[in-house]
Subunit: 352 residues, 2 copies
Amino acid sequence: MSELFNSYYSQATHGPFQLFQLGDFGLEEGGTLHAGQLAYTTLGTLNADKTNAVLLPTWYSGTSKIMADVHVGPGRAIDPDRYFVIIANQLGNGLSSSPTNTPAPFNMARFPRIRIGDDVRAQHKLVTEQFGIERLELVCGGSMGAQQTYEWAVRYPDMVKRAAPLAGTAKNTPHDFLFVETLTEAITSDPAWHAGWYTDPHAVHLGLRRHARLWGVMGFCTEMFKQATWRELGFSSLEDFIVGFVEHYFLPMDPNNLLCMAWKWQRGDVSRHTDGDLAQALARITAKVFVLPIDEDMFFPPRDCEAEHKLIPNSEFRVLHSMYGHLGLFGLEPVYLQQIDQHLGELLALDV
Amino acid sequence: MSELFNSYYSQATHGPFQLFQLGDFGLEEGGTLHAGQLAYTTLGTLNADKTNAVLLPTWYSGTSKIMADVHVGPGRAIDPDRYFVIIANQLGNGLSSSPTNTPAPFNMARFPRIRIGDDVRAQHKLVTEQFGIERLELVCGGSMGAQQTYEWAVRYPDMVKRAAPLAGTAKNTPHDFLFVETLTEAITSDPAWHAGWYTDPHAVHLGLRRHARLWGVMGFCTEMFKQATWRELGFSSLEDFIVGFVEHYFLPMDPNNLLCMAWKWQRGDVSRHTDGDLAQALARITAKVFVLPIDEDMFFPPRDCEAEHKLIPNSEFRVLHSMYGHLGLFGLEPVYLQQIDQHLGELLALDV
């Protein structure tokens, strides 16, 4: 067997998905995905003139399943009765080409470096070659999904009618870079990590638990812990919540997959298209954009998102409320889902 | 030799200090400091009727030196020409009784658990027995020093005329508890830690560096990194700053000392006096209190401090600005020192 078996990265866990063949796919950092694959799922039906497509990329560690659960449904803003929804799993997430599912010699620690731009180019191939879609009604994603959303709007402005980056930035911030560095180091400092050549991903559980706990500190917000809002999720104590929710979430994952995404996350930056000039990059956007930060987000405070919003020609700045901070993205509160539907509903209703 | 030698914990590094003998000092958690010592320094002269004393306790990892540097000076609010300033090093900080300077068998990993209340009782002995002071004009400290300040005001209300807790809370928050848990785990997960029985504290440098980097993420604020304010401190890049400032600061310290303080910090809580009723505890305060959070503090956001302020009978809520977030306490900006002088000057000028 060319890769380690990890039952977590399965259709049993993440629902059905298809694999789009990328072929030998050259990467921005110089590597190649040999016989690369993009895992995606669709909901709804593409109409005859191909004008009802919505694209949802995924966040760090997320897959198509949670994107569908949080953002798509009958009667919701992104209604599969009306839209053809394509959810594209980011490279490295364990469903698309990743350290875990790539055959040797490019497996595990030798999986090549991936950039947000690689994800978006792979998705562009899927959208154009598989479906013949020329323009997307909406691109919407949270966190690393927001990075991909911005990348789409800057790289392929003519193809993006509307964009809704949730809780993320077009150019990652130095503070967030530093935080993600601690996530990486939490895993790689586990002796069981063995420079990425562990014989069992679950042997790296102390590193994964440490990584999870750093998410616990930064992923929510101070007020959530103060009000012990985690009780709503059925936990009995702070420690019960941290182990039962945060550690539980990350423990089944593969360390190399997480690190592939972490490296990419740190370096998300649309100004790579314009020699580092962020204003010039964002000025390329022709989409109608709703910039949607979360008020209590400790990664991407609204002011950081607002600064980018001001550089986008046709943009509105709307702050979502979630007591769960950045991880409000998980849709843990009915009131969060209502806000998603309200804003995305308004955005989709706009003639652009 | 009964302890490991660490030249960092010396008068050469931290300036002159005296040792007050605590004798066999019983601790709240049940242990005893055998021949315990409280390291302190004084500035100025105690007047004849002993009515000009100011007490400054120290924060996590801090010593009397930085408290003097940031808060005391001729022409400043706390002017040693006018006030008799006692700076008391917290237990565990390496100058007062600590894992590093306590003889076997109570050294290193066997150093007993210390509570904020132990610090304050030890300081009470110093203030009353050594100096015969019955009332303090002001108690002022930042972060863990704020915890001690609140503890003083609740435990000995008749002895505290004025209190100025800076960037800290009377009862630690669950989020901060969780953060400090990651600090602890950063050190104890280093294989060189050896359950606290390392043969050289500097051998635990990877744990200390990891601990320092978590401070890097939470100790400042997102905006500081965005504006690259660290350039003002003479660093050339983000990494140069993180290594050259944050790692540099913590690397010479002793892991057991830091962990002793971390455990204490997590559990600071004046409501231990009132069966967990924080309102009842804070209602005991008779001092005039200025609650002084820092606007960009990621540990103790102003709203957490404001909630406590509202429970204190004679309190004012004043928010300090620092681009350095919680570590604004270090007095890295002239504008911060001006704010300290303004608020403490006003507080000391009040007839109470």
